[in-house]
């Protein structure tokens, strides 16, 4: 794609210089560090906080699976927030500032412009997710027991896919509305609505929220039916493709 690789390099450099990459990496690192710790010490924290008010309720002893669940939950929440923040100004800011016109007056297709931004957001999320999951695996191994590496790799991929979905929907909002605030609203709105819809039986497995159960099971070393993985993966991939296709279609028809 004409100019795509040059623009991808520019996007990554911009993420670094404007501190987006270091800040998001720091957030994910914190998630990776704190999730197993939280799982391990949650009973002590609750006991210390409640004092004498919970004398008769026995708290279960934390196990490695709790570290997995905690890591997934934190990644899904803080990661979604980061994904929306990364994508909300991707196109609208460049249009507002006039820098999109600078780039597109060169020998660069609009498809390449969009693709470079999508690739950069995807790469940042992948890098940060991998960092968080790697750190969490080490902590879980130290605090509990080593869990299957392959399962954690699968969980990292599924987490990244889920975050990519929120980023893609926000990206669509940024492109179609041309407003960073509106894009953030669309991203958070979609996150809330689809998270609620995930609780509906037989619907949830066809939404990004359906990635949670197989991801946690895989990382915990529990066998998972392939259909339980493929259904949410396929649905999320379709959601991402539709959102990004819509963004590219819309951007191709816009005046700069």
């Amino acid at each position: 794609m004409t100019g795509g690789s040059v623009l991808l390099r520019k996007e990554m450099l911009e993420s670094w210089r404007t501190l987006r990459l270091p800040i998001v990496a720091g957030l994910f690192l914190l998630v990776g560090l704190t999730s197993p710790l939280l799982a391990k010490f949650l009973p002590e924290i609750i006991t210390a906080a409640a004092g004498d008010q919970l004398p008769t309720i026995p708290l279960p002893t934390p196990v490695a699976v709790d570290a997995v669940s905690q890591t997934w939950k934190n990644l899904a929440q803080f990661g979604a927030f980061a994904a929306i923040v990364l994508a909300m100004g991707a196109v609208s800011t460049e249009r507002d500032r006039g820098t999109a016109a600078f780039v597109l007056s060169k020998t660069v297709s609009r498809g390449a412009f969009i693709a470079a931004k999508v690739a950069a957001i995807g790469a940042i999320l992948a890098l940060c997710t991998a960092l968080a999951v790697a750190v969490a695996w080490v902590y879980a191994a130290v605090l509990f027991e080593p869990l299957p590496v392959g399962g954690w790799v699968a969980m990292a991929f599924l987490a990244w896919l889920g975050l990519a979905a929120w980023a893609a929907l926000t990206f669509l909002g940024s492109t179609v509305t041309g407003s960073t605030v509106a894009a953030a609203g669309i991203g958070f709105g979609a996150l809330v609505l689809l998270s609620i819809a995930s609780a509906i039986p037989n619907v949830g497995r066809f939404l990004p929220g359906g990635l949670a159960a197989p991801a946690i099971a895989l990382a915990s070393g529990v066998p998972v039916d392939i259909g339980d993985v493929l259904a949410p993966v396929a649905a999320t991939v379709v959601l991402i493709a539709v959102a990004l296709g819509g963004a590219a279609w819309s951007f191709g028809r816009q005046e700069l």
């Binding site: 820098t99 600078f102 597109l104 007056s105 060169k106 020998t107 297709s109 498809g111 191709g252 005046e255």
Partner: protein
Amino acid sequence: MSQPTPAAVTCRGLVKRFGGSSGVLAVDGLDLDVPAGSVFGLLGPNGAGKTTTLRLVTGLARPTAGLVTIDGAPVSAGRGGLDARRGIGVLDQDPRYYSWMTGRELVALAGELQGLPAREARARADETLQLVGLADARTRRIAGYSGGMRQRLGIAQALVARPRLLVLDEPVSSLDPEGRRDLLALIADVRASATVIFSTHVLADVERICDRVAILDHGRLVTEGALEALLAGYASPLYRIDPEPGQEAALSALAATLRATAWVDGVTERDGRLTVSVTDEAAASAGLLPLVVAAGVRLAGFERVRPSLEDVFLRLVGREPDASPGGRAAA
């Protein structure tokens, strides 16, 4: 590297309407031919459609109807227009760049986006920044550049890939007199290898470097042609009557008398002076001064002048090219 071949630009039936069928008609059926190798000035008052025309030429806007071609290849905003847009240097009216980049990085990026290898783009960036007088500031972040420096940077990024077509929208608007002089010299230098289209309200600049001119008004082409031919075509003699101060009433009476005279084509009053265009030079030579004397106007100056582009512009469009003080002062 061999010099590029200048590109020819044509617009046929170009229409651009903003805001649907009842919206603003910015360009209205424009037919234009910009010959390869020419320095083409696009003139017009505010809202004439100059910037929209240039954005249509560069593919940044889509025409409502009509077609722009560069060397026969149709320009479009989509992928199909990439061939036509290859080798175009563009400077926007209000250039905005990535403030987190250094000047050198931005110009090199512009080069790479026009197909230069990274190493060559960096070398060319240094050369071009030297050319526009930004060599010392090349490693500074653009966020710290002044308006004039940004304009120079814009010129550098437009020139870095040695374009065959240079499209400049109000390129001197933020430049000081020295910067203006340097830019005009640069344009004169690139004319051997590139066609230059630029819009401006500084008519003196157009007279200095353009060989062809188009005047737009309300999105329509008023006239287009070689500068000399245009000046010759509207070469009816002009007389400037410069009265001593404090004779406003007498001057107005004289203007009214002149407007009613058969051989007078037009009278404009500006800055306390009258400019009179005539259809019969012999009659004017014999009759104009007696009319001034008869009106009782005491003269500080009286001269017969060759019409300037500004006179042609005023005659065709009926108003100033631009209301900004910079434009008037410079012109």
